[in-house]
Symmetry: C2
Subunit: 311 residues, 2 copies
């Protein structure tokens, strides 16, 4: 891991710390170096378009902690047993403590933000959490509903994923006192990367390699989550087989398996991939309008590696 | 309700707002005027020992929102069906949305704090949430354990309840630019009120009137929570009947009922009441050292009404 990210890790480990053995044990597993620190990485890269400061590392750490906290609560909500190939917090400590460890981490993220960054960042972070929660609730409410639009799907992943990428890129540039134009461009870059990233994440639940994804495939559909591959498959479903299954209020594990197979065989995965490509290209186009140099090249490379994962 | 608290309510209603129908509906029930706004009330009273400012209302609202958010998560964790006599959020919207509505409210509380108050308040608030979570986890971990000390009980209720009262009193005085001596005195007053308040709350689960408590009695022991009345009853348990039940790793609902009866008949409730009295008297003694006047009289009256509820 590059030195800069090691530093972010160090801040997280120093900040998300507790005398309580359960919290300490739970957090240790989270920050064991298994995470990719994507959002901190983007923030630090964006900061290079201005003047990188000490506080960038703190904000980067806060964003990663926010991300981890939402994952802990997500896993409780979805009852997913694994996270990054390891047992999820609630699998190890029970749902009750998992909710509280998530809250703890969220409070530490705010502490870091309040302590080191501009009040504007604290506001942005608080607003972002409101949006993430709102979109998660919408997603919950839309379980097993096949009549949602692709537009509604995109709105949800914007709120629950893309805005955090967007904030990472924006905050990096903003705190580095980059020009307003660059800040706004980086905000859009982060947004497009985030949308593409989440679409690919949703695709990998159908077509990924279980070992590299770190959790069993088909999780989403078993939980009733209608992601883009399903919506695309429904669109391509001329025989009506898929639509038939969705006409019921919920489906059995066997039906979920059938949906999984149909989504893969119908071209739903490839169609969803086209969307990811569109957003990736938008990000790459915006990146090409940034001031040329090593930072731009690195951002370009990172985006390609991140979003053209299968290539 | 006094005008000042109406104003706090207005800020909460304006701040904890959402376009999402589930969040909107969930929050509406929370802030329907059924709450007593104790913490905001104390904060505003404490502010009168300096200069009451507009932002006091915002901080008061933030503290109440923090309190409500922790209650939502508490009810999920304890699986309590009722809150203030009405169905708890998770009873109405399911556990998943309840976790998220709690997170949403927490983020709104931070938004308000970041927007209107001094950075010091944001820090204090974030630290407080860390402590509340930690103590809730300890409490969870101590379920069905009868060998915990009264000292350990007091430490837990300090973290999960008293510090919020303490922060309310302190922040009120601090933001009003009261003298350091008065700020510190009010911090101690809030602390003692908070400890007494929580002990009384725990007592009421054994001896209260179900209608005024707003939830069924005996909830705590059914959930395995060993509160002060139980610890006092165990201390008074010469026959060993109570200790016998606790020698098992957990107990059945029937055994929980038996514990409930034994705690009431053994004098455990009265002995716990003595503790509440001690902390109430400490608060009243500190209050009597505040500058005399209408504000001191009101704080004195409020404390008596709050903590000598049964009298």
């Amino acid at each position: 891991m590059p030195e800069a990210l090691e530093k972010v890790f160090g801040i997280i480990r120093g900040s998300a710390v507790s005398q309580n053995p359960i919290i300490a044990e739970g957090l240790k597993g989270l920050f064991n170096g298994n995470g990719k620190l994507l959002r901190p990485g983007l923030l630090l890269l964006a900061a290079q378009f201005g003047k990188l400061r000490e506080k960038h590392y703190q904000i980067a750490a806060a964003l990663e902690m926010l991300h981890m906290a939402t994952l802990i609560h997500d896993d409780v909500i979805d009852d997913s047993p694994l996270r990054r190939g390891l047992p999820a917090i609630h699998t190890r400590f029970g749902r009750q403590d998992a909710v509280l460890i998530g809250d703890f981490l969220l409070s530490r993220c705010f502490l870091l933000t309040a302590e080191y960054t501009s009040p504007q960042n604290a506001l942005n972070l608080a607003r972002l959490i409101s949006i993430i929660c709102t979109m998660e609730i919408e997603q919950n409410n839309d379980r097993f509903k096949s009549n949602i639009s692709r537009r509604s799907y995109l709105r949800k992943i914007m709120g629950k994923s893309a805005l955090l990428f967007s904030l990472a890129c924006y905050a990096g540039a903003y705190e580095a006192k980059a020009s307003r134009e660059i800040c706004e461009r980086l905000r859009r870059i982060g947004y497009n990367i985030g949308i593409a990233f989440q679409i690919i994440d949703d695709i990998l639940d159908y077509s990924g390699n279980q070992d590299s994804v770190g959790k069993p495939l088909g999780n989403d559909i078993t939980a009733g989550l209608i992601t883009l591959p399903v919506l695309c498959a429904l669109h391509l479903d001329n025989s009506g087989t898929l639509r038939d299954i969705f006409s019921r209020p919920a489906f059995t594990p066997e039906e979920a398996k059938l949906v999984f197979t149909l989504v893969r065989s119908s071209g739903g995965v490839e169609a969803a991939g086209k969307y990811a490509e569109t957003y990736t290209n938008r990000a790459l186009r915006e990146i090409s309008s940034l001031p040329p140099g090593k930072n731009r090249d690195m951002l370009n490379m990172l985006t390609k590696r991140l979003l053209i994962r299968e290539a």
